[in-house]
Symmetry: C3
């Protein structure tokens, strides 16, 4: 079984479509999106969201999780960075985790094949 | 300390009650549920949600996370598969992760005992 | 690269502000908050939420995720416990995970520096 990895991206909601397209273009098709609230490492600086200035830092963000194994992690990270980087405070964070196993429920397929093969 | 594992299940919201009951029946009592939006490996196929056809694939789903240690991972996977498998596109995915440690906040209990013992 | 760790805290929504302040005070500034629904290990007991008694156990909770590396995990756990412990059923759970890598998207900084340095 090849290594399975989860890449978790927390970024501006306005960037979701760009990110999704960029990831699709390198072969990442499965992803899970959640609405979250975040605060980063601002040290007193403020972040602008929909024209409003947030001081206390619990800003609406979007979390994108994608579990991958065929597409290299570095490629996913680089592609996400290119799609999301504006150079402004609040561009977001990416976290990478090991995944022990996976299952496609429809077929019961386990391991890396649960992510890569589409036996539909 | 016994190994602690997180099982993350992303599936149709309509299956949440069935899954919860099936997991409870094998001794899994703790779980955390979130509303998410997902896309899978459809290669142009579409998925039906509440009678509507989704092409672009960001379909409302439910994510169930359960951290376990006494009940074997295989038993949780098999039970979830039985409760969730319809054979149709979009049945969902399961991802398995290692958990380094756990705490029950009420008692401060750490490790596998935070998950299994109920000193209430 | 120093070890990077994710601490995931699931607790009462009413405790979010206290927890945020307590974590900020020990140098934890980045965190991501989600609204979730949870059930714990109640064995027939019920939990009170906004004056209502929940039997079936899918109670609204808040999930706080913070990825750390400079502040010791033990300090984060102890601080969270102090902020959240009431001694009543439903105080919550903490789960600890290993993080393989991290990136601050604005700068492209990888590894532990993505979490700790603020080159703003
Ligand atoms: N250490 C962390 N743990 C968990 N989530 C984090 C952490 N740091 C940031 N986040 C999440 O990522 C979102 C975006 O973070 P943000 O881009 O502001 O990071 P930052 O370190 O402050 O970088 P920048 O200086 O570019 O703003 C936050 O709103 C929060 O949801
Ligand atoms: N690789 C992945 N990474 C993260 N989340 C995923 C991934 N694949 C699927 N998901 C999540 O699981 C949900 C259900 O996926 P789905 O069942 O459609 O998977 P699939 O691989 O397309 O299988 P099927 O062919 O049976 O539809 C998706 O909507 C998405 O939220
Ligand atoms: N094993 C678990 N896996 C995933 N999430 C869990 C687990 N146990 C608890 N949770 C989450 O944590 C929340 C709070 O749990 P809770 O404090 O009720 O745990 P507990 O074990 O029942 O402890 P207590 O006896 O103090 O109530 C739950 O509502 C659920 O969201
Ligand atoms: Mg920031
Ligand atoms: Mg699918
Ligand atoms: Mg409980």
């Amino acid at each position: 079984m090849r290594k399975i990895t989860k890449v978790e991206i927390i970024t501006r909601a306005s960037k979701l479509e760009d990110l999704k397209e960029a990831l699709n273009a390198i072969g990442v098709q499965g992803m899970t999106v959640s609405q979250v609230y975040g605060c980063g490492l601002q040290k007193g600086q403020t972040e602008v969201y929909r024209g409003r200035q947030y001081a206390v830092n619990l800003v609406p963000k979007v979390k994108i999780e994608t579990v991958i194994c065929e597409v290299p992690v570095e490629k996913v990270l680089e592609t996400a960075r290119k799609a999301l980087q504006t150079g402004h405070i609040g561009d977001g964070k990416i976290f990478v985790y090991d995944v022990e196993n996976a299952m496609r429920i429809r077929t019961g397929t386990m391991g890396d094949k649960a992510i890569t093969d589409d036996e539909a």
